[in-house]
């Protein structure tokens, strides 16, 4: 097929797959088709080896010991920070804070920056397509500090409707938090346009990059946001590591969220002062092995470049959407134009509940997600109680999309 040929020219997925041991396994007696990448991605051997190697050869705590292992551990840990700083657009390394993931990064901002800067009568603006991670922390903050919440609406194709943006991002808006790419709809949002409006009223902007950072080039300076949060495990890295980037002047003015070891300068019986950035926000022993191994994920993605990863996914998404729509009984949520979306494809099959569908697909070796995808209000807005989602990555092939489509056809017959 034409699409398959084009895709071959962008990335050689067949070759790439050899680097991912788990993709060789079978599920229910059939070769695994892993299409749950928006939840978490599989890991290349280099990442798995790096995590093991850290424990086999370098294990020590970071930033304190005066011994060889501690120095090696610290170097591995700090190397990843440099990697991230250049990867998201060449920011200062001190502006990169390690967290457990996107969720913790957003909670850090909500508690530390939000707690001090958002008060009674202030407004927090979100979108209708936020993941619970970029929704619940703000609901809690609004409740605690007496702020109000407002939402940028979506249109019929699941794109942000910015026609009423100026009346929603009001002068009392202190923060706008927006996903750069929806985990349900796949929509890529015009974050820069929203950020410009937000800044015109003096608001601070946070972008949730959990879905965008793994799948497209990201430059936080071009985006024009003030905070950017993302996770390692959705981009080939280990679970339990993520990062928050924030503008230095904001981070410097913020009080630490968590306190304890590693984040102090001086401690007296009755008071303490804080370490410089980034350590002020990294209390306690971090996931050193995970952070060290995360750098191998960046290395892996850099072998191809994010432009190529994005191009591959555009073609894969186009092929997969056409294949599903061609079945005649599949309704896809989110933008129809693949240039406006990522590879997360949420859909419904008439007459088959998503959970029954996912169960049936599993029996055919196809792993998809069924549920509300941590976006309950959005799922309701779509008129669903749950949806089924297939999401691809650089190792997914159009042959796998065919397997998905064939299994859907079987499922339709089974339940229909």
């Amino acid at each position: 097929m034409q699409e398959a040929v084009n895709q071959q020219q962008v990335l050689d997925s067949a070759e790439i797959r050899k680097d991912f041991p788990i993709l060789e396994r079978s599920v229910q007696g059939k070769p695994l088709v892993y299409l749950d990448n928006a939840a978490t991605t599989q890991k290349p051997r280099s990442v798995i080896d790096a995590e093991a190697e850290y424990y086999l050869k370098h294990n020590a705590n970071v930033h304190r010991g005066i011994h060889t292992l501690a120095e090696e551990a610290t170097e591995a840990y700090e190397c990843t920070r440099d990697r991230i700083a250049s990867w998201i657009g060449g920011v200062a390394r001190e502006e990169v804070i390690f967290t457990r993931g996107t969720t913790e990064a957003i909670n850090l901002v909500a508690h530390s920056w939000g707690g001090a800067n958002i008060g009674k009568g202030d407004r927090i603006v979100l979108t209708q397509m936020e993941h619970h991670a970029n929704l619940v922390p703000w609901i809690q903050l609004a409740k605690k500090n007496g702020a109000e919440l407002a939402y940028l609406p979506i249109d019929g194709e699941g794109r942000l409707d910015l026609s009423s943006m100026d009346s929603i991002i009001t002068p009392n808006t202190k923060l706008v938090a927006i996903t750069q790419m929806s985990n349900v709809l796949g929509t890529i949002n015009p974050a820069a346009e929203v950020a410009a409006r937000a800044h015109s009223v003096g608001a601070v902007v946070l972008a949730d990059g959990a879905q965008s950072a793994p799948h497209m080039p990201v430059d936080v300076k071009v985006l024009g946001v003030d905070f950017f949060a993302f996770s390692g495990h959705k981009m080939l890295g280990p679970t339990g590591v993520g990062a928050l980037w924030g503008r230095r002047e904001l981070l410097e003015a913020m009080e630490p969220w968590q306190t304890g070891g590693e984040m102090i300068l001086l401690v007296k019986w009755d008071r303490a002062t804080w370490a410089e950035l980034p350590h002020k926000f990294e209390a306690g022993t971090p996931n050193i092995a995970g952070v060290a191994a995360w750098s191998k994920a960046f290395d892996y993605l850099d072998r191809f470049g994010m432009d190529a990863v994005r191009s591959h996914e555009v073609e894969w998404t186009r092929y997969t959407m056409n294949r599903l729509l061609g079945l005649g009984f599949v309704n896809i949520f989110g933008p129809k134009d693949v240039e406006e979306r990522g590879s997360a494809i949420s859909f419904e099959v008439e007459g088959v509940h998503p959970h029954d569908l996912a169960q049936f697909l599993d029996s055919r070796g196809v792993a998809v997600r069924a549920g509300h995808h941590c976006a309950q209000p959005l799922t309701k807005l779509l008129g669903q109680t749950s949806t089924t989602r297939a999401s691809g990555y650089l190792y997914n092939t159009t042959a796998e999309s065919d397997r998905l489509a064939e299994a859907l056809l079987e499922a339709k017959k089974y339940f229909g």
């Binding site: 229910q28 509940h353 959970h355 029954d356 169960q359 509300h372 309950q376 799922t379 089974y414 339940f415």
Partner: protein
Amino acid sequence: MHNHDHQLDEMYRDIILDHYRSPRGRKDVADPTVVNEGMNPSCGDEIEMKVRLKGDTVEELGVHCAGCAISVASGSMLSEIAEGRTISELKVIAAAVKGMLTTGEVPEEIELDELSDIEVLEGVRQFPVRIKCALLAWVTLVEGLERYEKGGSGENASTTEDANPTVIV
């Protein structure tokens, strides 16, 4: 047939798919004594149950379930056996269904094979994440009935319409 296909067919028995395609008990109940909603937050399944009691006996029961084949079929089967039974009988049956789906143990005095199609839900036990789908209707019924009992027999106290929905986790 591959082993997993067999397991799948054991769960999605024809009887279950039949209940899913044409659920029984999907009706409105006039002057309900007990109204309860149940939900399964992890998958979004929702069920609404209305019961009119006469004394402690279920005179009429209606179930509306928006959910997967297993939860819809389970609610449909429940509606087939509920009418004419007492609250305490239904609680015993609900406990037996739970036993069948979890430990596999059913109290001796209960003959599930005599209770409509309920016994065919047993195949769900092999799919642990789906067990709560099969239990949703039963838990919603029992919680609704228990709230009714706690609230006494007064007309106002007996309705659970405004109470929090039953959440199965």
